[in-house]
């Protein structure tokens, strides 16, 4: 037993072991802390840049676009047109377009983009269009198509699930 103990102590007395171990252990921390600081700094920088770009975009939008209609401006009865009603689908869609929040439209457009990518159409479509991921760019025809399609579906769904007479 004593022999084993002496052997262990002899091995541990090698300065390369304990000192080297400490250097390596703290070395990992130092390296990763430096990377962490770099990431915090770059994150902060990019967040600022994006915020600035967003503010500039929203300021430009405010200056150019007409005032948006709010949900309270729109008669809700028109959207609830039942399948048997006289109101044509186009009118219901038009009304819905005005009243649905923009976030829904963005979500629908994103969902459509994902669906297109999942089906492997993305590279083909991108090649045909000559640019990559054209539907990802804001304000493109792709996004508008996605928005219209999504809103149309939503309106039909709402119409179908709303009891008659309401």
């Amino acid at each position: 037993m004593e022999q084993i103990w002496n052997q262990v102590m002899e091995r541990l007395s090698n300065p390369e072991v304990l000192f080297g171990l400490a250097v390596r252990f703290f070395g990992v921390f130092i390296v990763l802390i430096i990377v962490m600081i770099v990431l915090y700094f770059t994150g902060w920088l990019f967040q600022r840049l994006e915020k600035k770009a967003e503010e500039e975009t929203s300021a430009a939008d405010k200056g150019s676009s007409p005032p948006k209609s709010t949900p309270t401006d729109t008669p809700t009865g028109a959207v609830r047109a039942s399948p048997g009603s006289e109101v044509p689908d186009e009118v219901a869609v038009a009304v819905a377009l005005a009243m649905v929040p923009e976030e829904v439209a963005v979500a629908v457009a994103l969902a459509l983009t994902e669906a297109v990518e999942e089906r492997g159409l993305a590279p083909r479509l991108a090649a045909q269009a000559g640019v990559s991921a054209a539907w990802e760019e804001p304000g493109t025809a792709w996004r508008l198509v996605g928005r219209q399609e999504g809103l149309f579906r939503k309106t039909c769904l709402r119409r179908d699930i709303t009891p008659k007479g309401e």
Binding site: R11, L12, V17, F29, V31, V35, M36, A133
Partner: protein
């Protein structure tokens, strides 16, 4: 008649059954155990199945597989000894990894560093038990739960241990769902496990694209020895995030990854012949591997608890266990455990941060070991 007898004797002598002994049978049992884990239990089947079958094949007496310039020798020599396969796997891993959660919460890197605790404690333990310093380093890295890094480091420092080390690393990685939960439960209270974490901030595409370059500069300038691995990881991630080389990304994470996984699995299994495996050192390596895994998991969890003492928004200590770099299995285990404790708790993305930080942490530890011992 004598010639016929000689011919018969030589034919019989070339039959494997004549050379079969108990060691081969034991190795078959080991191989079947891995195949059972892969097929029946579905633990890391992509790795354990080729490894298990590789072990089985090389442990058939007289199999012409691992001799000079024989089939598995070629796989092993050019793939593993030349350190090609681990680096190509890191390329695929880079393409498959989303560093977003880590970029959104850079504190994860500290958790990844904390989870290297086991690596250093095991290093000391193995050294005291009679392994040389380079051998101790190569055994200790098993706890990082990163197969390619284990192979890379072992090959650089102690190539004679490549079989047991790689096998221990991959088999314990496959058992992450069994190893992690009891350790987490033992180290945390119910109140800690139900902590809900704030949603991570949105990480812009620009940040994600630039990270591989910034990360490579930051780490590469400090630990250049690990650049073959980490550089490939970052290269793969850059391909993914840039979005302009979709075909290359798909190949790297698909066909290429599958091909090298087959060669890696078979090569690792092939290094496990009876003479190489059935000795006390291999058993010690397996023992230390388990000890290492447990300590690394504990290190991650305890690091989160320590950080919680100083930060305002508390983190759920379950995610500390994901500091092991078994991506994404460790994160999935954390998610499942968190959801069991609190069904409204979604820890997956929070755990992915420490998980990918663990990959970087293990690579950093390996780089420091290589720098000191090579």
């Amino acid at each position: 008649m004598e010639a016929l007898e000689k011919l018969l004797a030589s034919v019989v002598d070339r039959m494997g059954i004549i050379h079969l002994d108990w060691r081969y049978i034991v190795m078959w049992m080991v191989a079947f155990f891995f195949l059972y884990l892969a097929v029946k239990k579905k633990y890391e089947p992509l790795l354990l199945l080729p490894i298990g079958f590789g072990i089985f094949l090389v442990n058939l007496p007289l199999a012409p597989l691992m001799g000079d310039h024989e089939l598995f020798w070629i796989f092993h020599h050019y793939g593993v000894e030349w350190e090609v396969i681990p680096c190509v796997i890191f390329l695929g891993l880079g393409v498959m990894t989303d560093f977003g959660p880590m970029l959104a919460n850079p504190k994860s890197l500290i958790i990844g560093a904390g989870a290297q605790l086991g690596v250093f404690v095991t290093f000391l333990g193995t050294y005291v038990c009679g392994f040389s310093l380079p051998e101790a380093a190569s055994v200790a890295i098993i706890g990082g739960a990163d197969g390619p890094t284990t192979i890379y480091l072992t090959n650089a420092l102690a190539p004679q241990l490549i079989g047991p080390n790689a096998l221990a690393a991959y088999s314990y990685m496959a058992m992450v769902p069994l190893i992690l939960p009891p350790i987490i439960r033992a180290l945390t209270t119910k109140e800690e496990r139900v902590i809900e974490m704030k949603q991570l901030r949105h990480v812009s595409r620009r940040e994600k694209v630039l990270f591989p370059i910034i990360g490579t500069i930051a780490i590469g300038l400090m630990i250049p020895d690990i650049l073959p691995l980490l550089g490939m990881l970052m290269f793969g991630n850059f391909m993914r995030e840039s979005g302009v080389v979709r075909r290359l990304s798909q190949t790297a994470q698909g066909e290429l990854m599958n091909i090298v996984t087959i060669f890696l699995g078979v090569s690792v299994g092939a290094a496990m012949d009876a003479a190489n495996f059935l000795n006390p050192r291999s058993l010690l390596i397996f023992g230390f591997g388990m000890f290492d895994f447990i300590l690394c998991t504990m290190g991650g969890v305890l690091m989160v608890k320590l950080m919680n003492l100083f930060i305002k928004e508390k983190m759920n200590p379950i995610i500390g266990a994901a500091g092991l770099s078994a991506v994404p299995m460790a994160s999935r285990v954390c998610q499942d455990m968190g959801a069991k404790e609190n069904p409204g708790n979604f820890l997956l993305m929070h755990a992915m941060g420490p998980n990918v930080a663990g990959v970087i942490g293990t690579a950093a530890a390996a780089g420091l070991m290589i720098a000191m011992f090579k």
